[in-house]
């Protein structure tokens, strides 16, 4: 079984994010970068499918030079080889351009299942997996919490409001991983030592023949508005305080 996993490097969840003064993006200096946590679930699931069915796992990542770290981490977890799409013209890619680049790289690879994280924790766009499936012309199973593959069919479970949906798809298909799909393994020490010997192809936009215009553009990034101080209702009479609370919730906060 040929498994492909798309991996993105994102700021560590504990990193303190600061915006550039002109609002064009975030200050990257001093940030610790990690593999997008949802992509870790995707890598783990691919490794489990490989362990069960045989085959190979290829990691594909779009990003600047530092993205190689996430590829190496996935290789250390047990993936077989990597493709690093690195090109300054793609550094500010939107979801469409990113998916186009990934599709161009994946087209030339044998693929039965393509796994992605359901979204990246940096821009939270959550579109790349779906656009990728469209560009490749294959079905998509998104935000999946459980996956079984047998007899050329992928069976997946997805949580929706108050229920679970069971989806089936022929292969090849795109699966996007949700939290709960599995418990990702550590990149073990022997794995880390082996990772440096595994092949990673670095390709630029020209080599992949990508020349697409981005469809979305970030105009400005702004920090979230500062939360106003809370209000404490004073008084001795609980009934009057409750009445005042209800009035404020209704008239000022407008939540009831």
């Amino acid at each position: 079984m040929h498994l492909v996993v798309c991996v993105k490097q994102a700021p560590d969840t504990e990193a303190l994010i600061k915006l550039k003064p002109d609002g064009s993006g975030i200050e990257e200096a001093g940030i610790k970068w990690v593999m997008n946590p949802y992509d870790e679930y995707a890598v783990e699931e691919a490794l489990r499918l490989k362990e069960k069915n045989g085959g190979d796992v290829t990691i594909v990542s779009l990003g600047p030079a530092r993205a190689m770290e996430s590829i190496r981490t996935a290789l250390a977890m047990g993936a077989d080889k990597g493709i690093h799409i690195s090109d300054p013209s793609l550094d500010r890619a939107d979801a469409f351009v990113a998916a186009s680049a990934l599709a161009a790289a994946i087209k030339s690879l044998p693929h039965d299942i393509i796994l992605c994280g359901q979204r990246a924790i940096d821009d939270d766009s959550g579109q790349v997996g779906s656009i990728l499936a469209e560009l490749l012309g294959v079905p998509q199973l998104t935000i999946i919490m459980k996956l079984e593959v047998a007899g050329g069919v992928a069976k997946a479970v997805k949580a929706i409001e108050g229920a679970q949906v069971v989806l089936e798809s022929a292969l090849p298909c795109v699966v996007t991983a949700q939290k709960g799909l599995n418990e990702p393994r550590y990149a073990s020490l022997p794995g880390i030592m082996k990772a440096k010997k595994k092949p990673v192809d670095v390709k630029n936009a020209a080599a992949l023949g990508i020349s697409v215009e981005q469809k979305a553009r970030i105009i400005k990034m702004m920090p979230p508005p500062q939360r106003a101080a809370g209000k404490i209702i004073q008084g001795d009479d609980p009934e009057a305080k409750a009445r005042e609370l209800v009035r404020l919730l209704r008239e000022e906060a407008k939540v009831i």
């Binding site: 020490l189 880390i192 440096k196």
Partner: protein
Amino acid sequence: MNFELSEELRMLKDMACKFAQNEIAPIARDCDEHERYTPEIRIKAAEQGLVGAWISEDYGGAGVGVLGNTLISEEVSRVDMGIGLNICAASFGCEALYYYGTEEQKQAYLPPVCRGEQVSAGAFTEPNAGTDVAGYKTRAVRDGDDFVINGTKTFITNGSVCHWMVLQCITNPEEKRHQSFSQVIVPADSPGITRNKIRGKMGIRASDTAEIAFEDVRVPAANLLGSEKRGFYQLMHFFDVTRIMVAGQAVGLSRACIDESIKYAKERTAFGTPIGSFQATMTKLTDMATRLEALRNLVYKAAWLVDSGKPDYHLAAMAKYFGGETAVFCANAAVEIHGGYGYIDEYNVQRFYRDAKILELYEGTKEAEIMTIGRYLQS
């Protein structure tokens, strides 16, 4: 000059950090309170290659060198030094095997430790002699094809949980003091061995420490480790390497103290403003951070020199000496920044304060380090 860690070492550090956060942090307080050794964490760590990581791949290790091992030591000690020891010191004693063992001995003893199945120990210290290595009294008498061992060892890390130990003993009493010692590999289940876990340690309470008594314990003469009469020198070399691991613990513990202190200094207010805004707090944080940075560079350099084939054992002694001092300083400042809360076990710094002191006591007291360094400077 290049101060960057290699890509593999960075990945190793990240993994050890993640492992410590996920596996050690949730149980640290409980293990400290109940003096609970953690075999399950050791086995899990071994599955990731963290136990005996410095041992070469030929003998089951990951071959990450002394620097790699120091980084592991730092990351696990940053979360809990006691449980960290159950990982980093699970292979304590293996250094002697690695440097002086025969091929057969290495193949027999090292891989099971790296797999987490067995634990080793170094049985050196005695009730009446610790740092004074030449003052040990335990005796191994040659009898046919065996050694017969009598004596008592104490404060032995992993003492009650180990499967085998490297024993420091007198084999040639007729020789001059320093030439009278040899090292012997002793299986822990040998008849005549009595092991008593030592309870009531101030810190590193998740780590196992025991007193071991030897009464007519027989081991084959083939268990001699290295050369007869060279035990003293072999042990000195042993500490030269293991000291760097201990210095790595000091880096981790000092970092933990600083992390907790910065967090608290920003949260806690006094006189209507965060305590971090007061110069007295800033002085503490600055002193802690500056000393840590200096320590880290000293420790990494000492480790890197070993891996580069240019070991500088005086630098290793300095790293250990400054490490203990820095950790004790940082733990003290962290408790002061936390005030009353730093004195109760609800806050981690209380544990760090108790754990720090051992770094000035074991693996050569700081007073011994001072003598090593002081003599060298005048040599």
